[in-house]
């Protein structure tokens, strides 16, 4: 009589390895939250004790009311019209400061919106030009070489101590 011996297999069972690994992948993918890693940069004044001298009369004042309404030099205006209003002024005097002054109760988002609009315009060859006007074919180096608008966002404390 012949016995058939049941020999145990000498292989490591790897068939479930893939299941485990995919489970781990799914876990990582589900728990990963995509970090928002982009935004607008904003340089604060360099380390000097003298605050930049901003003549109130000499600048363009953009006020943001709590309901989001913009008042530019006391005149109501839409965000889309800012550049049009600034162009003749800045073409004449490129250094003219543009002051963003949100009221204490204005939502932060409106200030960022105005800042975004101002950052999309630069003085190229003394002319205020927006990114949209230039189109996608404009060389990036030329854009980078352009001069930024002199944007100033004074804090409440600075306004109180230097203007009044």
């Amino acid at each position: 009589m012949k016995f058939q011996r049941n020999r145990p297999s000498d292989e490591i069972p790897t068939s479930s390895m893939a299941d485990i690994a995919f489970l781990l992948i799914v876990y990582f993918m589900v728990t990963t939250t995509f970090a928002a890693t982009r935004g607008l940069d904003f340089s604060l004044p360099k380390d000097d004790d003298q605050p930049p001298v901003v003549e109130k009369e000499d600048s363009v004042l953009i006020e943001i009311l709590p309901n989001g309404q913009l008042m530019i030099d006391q005149k109501p205006m839409e965000a889309g019209d800012i550049i049009e209003y600034l162009k003749p002024k800045l073409d004449r005097n490129a250094k003219k400061p543009v002051i963003i002054k949100p009221q204490p109760e204005s939502p932060y988002g409106h200030m960022v919106e105005v800042f975004d609009v101002l950052r999309q315009a630069k003085l190229i060859d003394g002319q205020l030009t927006t990114l949209a006007e230039l189109g996608p074919d404009f060389p990036e180096e030329d854009w980078d070489a352009g001069k930024d608008i002199n944007i100033s966002i004074p804090t409440q404390r600075e306004i109180e101590s230097f203007w009044f």
Partner: protein, 144 residues
């Protein structure tokens, strides 16, 4: 004559390399993951222009209710009880990491006075660069 039993090919999908592929993917995910130092959920303002924020940066987050959390970029963010504590945080940050940028992660609806106070703290502490975290604003309809 006895015919030899036919040796049939077994229909098996080769799965031996599956685990290798999967582990490769896991390693990829683990390497590319950057741990967020601040997990506060806020509705960021939307901008058309956006620049990459440095990976090593301090974070200040402000929720719509005005709750502030800070981190110098080394540890997880901690809540700040009073707005005056942001002054101390900013001073410490500049003392320890003079060149480190600060990322402001504020909700779009926060009253500006909170932001104003924070920027004032950062200015007084002589922080050089701040970033206003934002989301991509969709291109205006009808612009194309």
């Amino acid at each position: 004559m006895r015919l030899k039993a036919r040796h049939e090919n077994q229909a098996v999908i080769p799965t031996a390399s599956m685990a290798d592929i999967a582990f490769l993917l896991i390693v990829f995910f683990m390497v590319t993951i950057t741990f967020e130092k601040d997990k506060t959920q806020v509705a960021l303002p939307k901008t058309e222009l956006r620049f990459e924020v440095p990976k090593i940066a301090a974070y200040i987050s402000v929720t719509e209710a005005g709750q502030i959390r800070v981190t110098d970029g080394e540890a997880m963010s901690t809540p700040v009880q009073r707005i005056d504590d942001v002054d101390a945080f900013a001073a410490n940050l500049v003392a320890n990491f003079p060149k480190r940028p600060v990322v402001l992660k504020a909700d779009s609806n926060v009253p500006y006075r909170h932001i104003d106070r924070i920027i004032d703290s950062l200015k007084q502490a002589k922080v050089e660069q701040i970033y206003l975290l934002s989301e991509q604003k969709p291109l205006e309809e009808g612009a194309a």
